[in-house]
């Protein structure tokens, strides 16, 4: 049984269609990365799954529960780690956890709090108010709060957005531990590296629908080939090179001050200049080619 099944889900906000016929299934025990640019419909999808948005049409099933009718039962079995820090800042670390243990009807609140304090490595800060914690500690606490009832399924909505690299790495370690325990994870992100490191499977979303899906290596092989040639040159020369590469059937994307000729191993002689930097194709190449957006 899939942990999440979405079929033809549409969600409109007035004239804007945020989710446009989304089909998505998340098998049990995997981490699926929902990778897409801002405005792709990732957060709306998360809200649909937590019953905070109601689809205009389509079918949604979470852990065997039909949404929105059985949303409350589904929410009892899943954990949510939001994009924004919404901890109670004046309240102690342990009280923040205890409140959510009660909301999730956990029988032994004290044991659940202790387990989460260990998970977040905050046992010695349990009596401190949240606003006395560092940014990294707060994010670990936020993650632990979403796991206070040991959910079967966890929704991570942009779990490391806006964080500095050190805190991001800390969280990736925690999410990695969660994965290793077999918890099903649906993680929305617009960070390529995050998706590449954590996700078993990636669904690239744009304009409210999945435009490609697969394991990172398969997506790269399918859409970007084996190699990418990056060419640094004055704008006029880049424009000429781009035109020639595209005329020969290759795909080209901007890459900061350079252009990236994707699948350059298939290029005919003379298309890729000798001064090009040849590197392995990446998920970033796939993301930019598919969505037309610059990667972060």
């Amino acid at each position: 049984m899939a942990a999440i099944e979405l079929n033809g889900v549409v969600k409109r906000f007035g004239p804007i269609t945020a989710v446009d016929g989304l089909d998505l299934d998340v098998p049990e025990g995997i981490c699926l990365g929902l990778l897409g640019p801002n405005g792709a419909g990732k957060s709306t999808t998360m809200r649909l799954l937590t019953g905070q948005a109601i689809a205009n049409s389509g079918e949604l099933r979470v852990l065997g529960h039909e949404l929105p009718g059985e949303s409350k039962s589904a929410r009892a079995e899943m954990g949510v780690v939001p994009q924004l820090d919404n901890l109670d800042v004046d309240v102690t670390v342990e009280d923040n956890l205890a409140v959510y243990a009660r909301l999730y009807r956990v029988k032994d609140v004290g044991a659940a709090v202790d387990r989460c304090l260990d998970l977040a490595r905050l046992r010695d800060r349990r009596k401190d108010a949240v606003d006395e914690l560092s940014g990294g500690m707060r994010r670990r606490l936020l993650l632990a709060r979403g796991l206070v009832h040991e959910p079967k399924l966890v929704l991570l909505d942009e779990p490391t957005v806006g964080l500095d690299p050190q805190i991001r790495t800390e969280l990736w370690t925690l999410i990695g531990e969660l994965k290793s325990r077999g918890t099903t994870i649906l993680m929305s992100t617009h960070y390529i590296e995050e998706a590449e490191r954590l996700a078993d499977d990636i669904a690239v979303v744009a304009k409210g629908k999945v435009i490609s899906r697969g394991r990172p290596a398969d997506l790269i092989a399918e859409h970007a080939g084996r190699e990418t040639a990056e060419v640094y040159a004055p704008p006029q020369r880049l424009a000429e090179l781009r035109e020639r590469a595209e005329a020969s059937g290759l795909r080209v994307r901007p890459a900061g001050p350079a252009i990236a000729i994707v699948g350059s191993e298939r290029a005919e002689d003379g298309i890729v200049p000798d001064d090009a930097v040849i590197r392995a194709a990446t998920l970033e190449d796939v993301f930019v080619l598919l969505t037309g957006e610059e990667a972060e």
């Binding site: 969600k11 906000f13 709306t44 809200r47 937590t50 019953g51 905070q52 948005a53 109601i54 059985e70 409350k72 039962s73 929410r75 009892a76 079995e77 949510v80 939001p82 924004l84 919404n86 109670d88 004046d90 309240v91 102690t92 009280d95 923040n96 205890a98 409140v99 959510y100 243990a101 009660r102 909301l103 999730y104 009807r105 956990v106 029988k107 032994d108 044991a111 659940a112 387990r115 108010a129 709060r145 206070v148 009832h149 040991e150 959910p151």
Partner: protein, 266 residues
């Protein structure tokens, strides 16, 4: 995984006590961080009003009203003032801040809690607090010669029911306004007039007939009369007054749930 720390999969019902208790436990945890300031101001405010109106006005212009020493007339009326200010205002501002600025409701609604339970818990918590704070003016008035009476034991309950109504009103307003400064309109157009025509500082019998009619549908006025009934003797009409307060609480409860559902669920 431990069965004791896992959520128990089961069929969920409406208005689950566990969900309501969970939301209220969050309020209690927060209240523990700010109760001193709130309690201090709840005690000081009626004292200041009683000194200003009861002693100031009572000593110079008004000796007694309807056979009651003016300071005791004001002291019993101040219960309603304490109730509206400890229920409607926290419901308006607290709800708005938790929804718009702190994203608290987004986190709570991601748990197995629905809007009906969330609103019910918020209203109950505010009403419980207000039921206690509402009694402070009465306690202060004891120091100014008001004799304790058995009927006063019902006052916390009257305050609780009235506060439920105002909490529902406040939550509904918080779900309706677009910006926090729009609460100025609510305060100026609703709260201040209700406060002034409650019969706290002067009997409403001296007001024009039209205003007296408005006062009759003012829950604060009904509370003032019930509190004075507790202090100086109940009448049969007080049953109708209490029924009216219960009806107001029920109506504002449903309106608050409806407004918050529209605000929180897209």
């Amino acid at each position: 995984m431990s069965a004791e720390t896992q959520a128990t999969p089961r069929e969920m019902r409406r208005l689950e006590p566990a969900a309501i208790a969970g939301v209220m436990s969050r309020e209690v945890a927060n209240f523990r961080t700010y109760w001193k300031g709130t309690t201090f101001s709840s005690l000081l405010e009626p004292l200041v009003y009683l000194l200003a109106f009861g002693l100031g006005l009572g000593a110079t212009l008004v000796d007694e009203v309807e056979g009651v020493p003016y300071i005791q007339f004001v002291g019993t009326g101040m219960v309603a003032t304490a109730v509206i200010f400890s229920s409607a205002l926290p419901a308006m501002f607290g709800t708005f801040v938790k929804h718009r600025f702190q994203n608290t409701y987004e986190a709570i609604l991601a748990a197995p809690v629905d809007v009906e339970e969330l609103v019910t818990a918020e209203m109950l918590w505010i009403a419980l607090r207000s039921g206690i704070y509402g009694c402070f003016p009465l306690l202060v008035t004891f120091a100014f010669g008001l004799d304790p009476a058995w009927g006063m034991l019902l006052v916390p309950f009257f305050c609780f029911v009235t506060a439920l109504g105002f909490a529902g009103f406040g939550v509904a307003m918080a779900a309706t306004v677009a910006k926090i400064d729009q609460f100025n309109y609510v305060t100026a157009l609703c709260i201040t007039p209700l406060f002034l025509v409650a019969g706290t500082f002067f009997p409403i019998s001296g007001l024009p007939e039209g205003v007296q009619l408005v006062a009759q549908v003012n829950p604060l006025h009904q509370l003032v009369e019930l509190v004075r009934g507790g202090a100086f003797g109940y009448e049969l009409v007080d049953l109708a007054r209490f029924a009216f307060l219960v009806a107001v609480a029920l109506v504002t409860w449903r309106i608050a749930i409806s407004r918050m559902s529209k605000r929180l669920i897209d």
